[in-house]
Symmetry: C7
Subunit: 97 residues, 7 copies
């Protein structure tokens, strides 16, 4: 039976986007060029209580494409798929086409 | 006489779930594959007072299945059973089938 | 003349419970098995002022049996009896039969 | 398809201004003289919630020319162009002709 | 002319109580037994402003007998008498007969 | 075209005052005597938001002569002139004749 | 022209009191006995904004005699006289005859 994880507090569950090493036309992409450390938001926590006691919701939402920091992130394996958990204030930004 | 522990502040008492090394059909599971560091919440503390003085209840409740961090947790032996105490903001998330 | 200590702020004075090394029937208990690091609360301080300025009373009360952390605690000798002072947020929980 | 990054929280996306090594009249500029570590603001995040819970918008806006600190900044490559992400309180000031 | 010190903020001026090495009947007391690190409060500061801006008076008052921590305290010589200054939240508790 | 810097947050732009090594009458001043580490305030930032969310303006203003700490300060070259950026709470005081 | 320093924030300008090494009757005082690390307050800053945003004035005033900590203090030379700058919460107390 598959497992679903609902993050706690301001954590965000992300599935990394592995950039294709070849273009659709099959041309090999240089190693470094297209590799943005990015991922798809799979689930978000409820957020954190701010200093005034009010709940600050997480800054991203399910389905967002996000730019991830070079380091950090907790690896989580669910049904043999690899995910990463980040605190929302470690995520750099949202990516848009 | 058995002992019951009520955690203080935002602590959570967890009994770890030890994943079966064989499937119900008896097939040996590869060592790493199914081992989520997870546990069942046995008892929770009242929570912590936020910056505005109001009590913030603990983010999980008795009976929840939770995903635990790789490190941390204070081992507690009660009636020869092994439990672990975590602060609620160290717990990564709740697991759902 | 015996001395009485009233702790300050959120400190808690505890007398450790030394678990019997033999059962009532005289059977030697294995070293590690029953040794919960626990104690009886003898006196508590008034508490600490929270961030909103209001006084947060200490989380345990006189007579409670408490589970103590492995480390910490300030040793205090009063009338040749040994006590330990803890800050209330270092105490793990209350023990109940 | 080109990618656009919207920074999170109080982050600012900057494209560095590389000072010309020659004057318009072609005279070679001494290495150190004109090199201000400056850049153009390309995108800003929504800001951070202050201690009173209200949102504090980022201190600079798109199009500003800013003086950057000597160190820090996270390198981000988008469509083969090089950008840098800073927290707004690390940016030293805005430059004006 | 003798000097009087009024401590600032939440500081407390204490004169240490040196326990008698002999009982009134002249019996030598074992070195460690009766030596509580205690003292008499000689003067207290006005207190500290809490997070809500209100003044939190010092937790002890002149004349109190207090239990002192093993370490810390700033030595102050006034008219050849030795005193110690402590912050009130370093003082462990008040002693009562 | 000359550049003008408007500092951000509670930063202050200062031009150091280099004390004359000779008196007006031409007498060589001993090295250490008159050398106050001081400067003229050239520009100030808007200030910082206090804990209550209100903007706390910078504690000095353009034209003030200020006493600078021995260390710290970020060097900034604008139109070949040397300035230093300080956070206002690092500046020791204002100097008056 | 003499210089006057007005400290910033909660800083206090102090001129140290050098205790006489002889009594008025000319008797040499033992080195350590009378040497309180004290000084006269020459000028004070406006104070600091507390957590509630209100200005907390400095805890001492011009003319006070203060007991200084053993370490700390920033040396400032004004018109060849030696002064020291302290933050008010580093000053131990006020001395009174």
């Amino acid at each position: 039976m598959s497992k679903r994880l609902i993050p706690l507090f301001n954590r965000v569950l992300v599935q990394k986007i592995v950039a294709p090493s070849k273009t659709t036309a099959g041309i090999l992409l240089p190693e470094k060029s297209s590799k943005l450390n990015s991922g798809k938001v799979v689930a978000v926590g409820p957020g954190l209580h701010g200093k005034d006691g009010k709940l600050l919701p997480v800054a991203v939402k399910e389905g967002d494409t996000v730019l991830l920091p070079e380091y950090g992130g907790t690896e989580v394996k669910l049904d043999n798929k690899e995910y990463f958990l980040y605190r929302d204030d470690d995520i750099l930004g949202t990516l848009h086409d």
